[in-house]
């Protein structure tokens, strides 16, 4: 005689702390055996009041906070925020600084995609691909460190330009890094793209239709995997993207596998963009014979304090490595000439009272950068999609309101639709392809 088994669904908490959660987020899933019947996503575990903090600080002080939004590609956040404030200001930036911003954004995009692909492959058991990609990412981090002085919390851009010029040997560094990345990508491609296990778990899982993606305001590789060729760099070009030639890869099925392929191709396109930008970029200053002209920064400050300022401003200060590339000779090409937005070069601050006052005016509370009253929204293409900054100014030295449109917020809102009806095991690749970044999602 057959006896009917009594079945009932089970509530399963995935997260907030779970090895396959990229950060802390909680998915409450109602399971029927291995199948997800219903699910709910709970976010906010990494909320650090970015928007509130931004209202309390000066315009320049917000830049370090933006590093901590999407900490896998912090340079794009820096660039986005500065572009929004510059729009509010009506500032024009120099050509070289725009190229530098493009180059650094694209390097960041590559690191982001490498992390995303590496981590999601690792969660499916492909640890080798993860190690290869992280090893290749290291070459980029070394480049980023050479330019900005830091690996992660880079705070590289300034309102009106960037902190310092590219270091000598940057081109060669890029060439070598790209050689490494291309060879690693080839290996990863060989390891994953036709790998039976990987394909079986990625294809036809986490499928989203074009209409649903648009209704949820999803952008970036996630939207492009459904066949929509929306890319902010193409749709509303900013910086010098309109002068550069690149392709926007699109998928077809909107599943995890297409998203993986999109990201792989986007890395190649980013490399292409950097190579083109490096070729087009106007040359930096030529180093002349600096014999006897370079003095330690402390000596410069001491001399100025003694009043021996004659000819001092013409010399170059040798300062801390974190300020590399911010010399006076670099300044004309990397910073705006608008004195209301630029920080003076360190040589001017150290050697003259005018420079010191200018610096004081830009840094002190109640002074600083003051864009005219108004509001501006600036979208840039982040690694996960449209990253927008909406800045409101009341004419004082502090932003009245800074709103970030985080691209993965929209994807996380749609996540239940992607995982409902699938199996528990499918949550892992789907969630991996979301590339959720807690800092950006919860701000």
């Amino acid at each position: 005689m057959l006896k009917k088994t009594r079945t009932e669904s089970m509530l399963l908490n995935v997260g907030p702390s779970h090895p396959a959660m990229h950060g802390i987020v909680r998915i409450v899933a109602e399971m029927d055996g291995e199948t997800v019947v219903q699910s709910e996503v709970e976010i906010g575990y990494l909320h650090r009041a970015f928007e509130k903090s931004a209202e309390q600080s000066g315009y320049l002080q917000v830049i370090p906070y933006t590093d901590r939004l999407n900490y896998v590609s912090p340079l794009i956040n820096n660039v986005g925020y500065c572009l929004a404030v510059e729009k509010l200001f009506g500032l024009k930036t120099t050509e070289r600084s725009q190229y530098i911003r493009v180059i650094m954004s694209e390097l960041s995009r590559i690191t982001d995609h490498q992390t995303c692909i590496g981590a999601s492959a690792m969660e499916l058991g492909a640890f080798t691909a993860f190690l290869y990609l992280i090893k290749a990412r290291e070459t980029l981090y070394r480049l980023i460190e050479a330019v900005t002085g830091a690996r992660l919390t880079i705070s590289y851009t300034r309102i009106g330009g960037v902190k310092g010029d590219l270091p000598p040997g940057f081109r060669e560094g890029c060439r070598e890094a790209f050689k490494e990345i291309r060879s690693v990508n080839k290996e990863v491609d060989a390891l994953l793209t036709k790998n039976r296990i990987f394909v079986d778990r990625m294809q036809n899982t986490g499928v989203i239709s074009r209409e649903t993606a648009l209704a949820f305001g999803i952008t970036g590789p996630f939207l492009r995997s459904t066949g929509v060729d929306y890319d902010v760099r193409r749709a509303s070009p900013y910086l010098v993207y309109d002068r550069l030639d690149f392709d926007v890869p699109v998928g077809e099925h909107g599943d995890n596998y297409d998203r993986y392929l999109c990201r792989m191709e986007e890395m190649e396109q980013s490399i292409r963009l950097v190579e083109e930008a490096l070729a087009q970029m106007p040359e930096g200053p030529v180093l002349l014979n600096t014999e006897g002209q370079v003095i330690p920064a402390e000596t410069m400050v001491d001399e100025a304090k003694m009043g021996r300022t004659e000819g001092l401003g013409l010399k170059t200060a040798d300062f801390d490595p974190t300020l590399e590339g911010a010399h006076k000779s670099n300044y004309a090409q990397i910073e705006t000439s608008n004195k209301r937005a630029m920080l003076p070069p360190k040589e001017a601050t150290y050697s003259s009272i005018e420079g010191l006052m200018h610096h004081f005016k830009m840094i002190m509370d109640g002074h600083g950068i003051r864009p005219p009253q108004g509001e501006a929204y600036f979208p840039v293409e982040g690694a996960n999609g449209e990253l927008g900054f909406y800045v409101v100014s009341d004419g004082t030295g502090q932003p009245y309101r800074v709103r970030v449109r985080p691209p993965c917020f929209m994807i996380m809102a749609a996540l239940p639709l992607l995982i409902n009806g699938g199996t528990m095991a499918d949550i892992v690749p789907t969630f991996g392809s979301v590339n959720m970044i807690g800092g950006e999602l919860d701000r």
Binding site: G44, K87, G90, F216, R340, G388, D394, R403, M412, A414
Partner: protein
């Protein structure tokens, strides 16, 4: 030190020139079509913006979504601004950003609402993403959304009191730590 504003005015003119070229005039067009609903328009820094009455918001937005001339099919963002620090009246301003995928243009729609009557119609029937975005506005500003299916906090926790992005919420205010409920 005297700071020359000459540089500033030339760059401002430059940005205005750019604005002229990019303009597609959506805000003017909308004002002509809904003279009773649109209160004011501007295109500062090239961002075309309309301010509408709250009672007409749904009607205007449905038109923006469905009329092929506007075709604003993507809801980019919903946020709010608390005008307390600027002493604007009414206090709150809802800010909606829209984008058209086909026409590649953007429009910002704003609605001004009073503190005592901080209730907005929900957009969840038109865009599912409005669900989470409106929850965030509720969480941060305490603005209610009428007809929202599940209006609860999203970034803060249930036990949190107050709405942190309001200008009268002190930045350094601390709230008691909460532990596990059944400990």
């Amino acid at each position: 030190m005297a700071i020359s504003i000459r540089n500033l005015s030339t760059t401002l003119m430059h940005s205005r020139k750019m604005t002229m070229e990019q303009k597609s005039g959506l805000h003017i067009k909308l004002q002509q079509e809904f003279p009773g609903a649109v209160l004011s328009v501007h295109d500062q820094h090239g961002d075309e913006t309309v301010t509408t009455k709250r009672e007409n918001l749904l009607e205007v937005i449905r038109h923006l979504k469905e009329d092929p001339a506007f075709d604003l099919n993507v809801l980019i963002d919903i946020t709010a601004v608390d005008g307390l620090g600027m002493k604007t009246k009414p206090r709150f301003e809802m800010v909606y950003h829209f984008y058209s995928l086909a026409k590649k243009h953007r429009l910002r729609v704003k609605v001004k609402i009073d503190e005592k009557d901080a209730v907005m119609p929900t957009l969840t029937s038109l865009w599912p993403i409005a669900d989470w975005l409106e929850r965030e506005v509720w969480d941060m500003f305490g603005i209610c959304f009428e007809g929202h299916p599940d209006l609860k906090r999203i970034l803060m926790y249930e036990e949190f009191t107050g709405h942190p992005l309001r200008k009268d919420y002190p930045y350094s205010k601390r709230q008691p730590l909460i532990g596990p409920k059944h400990a």
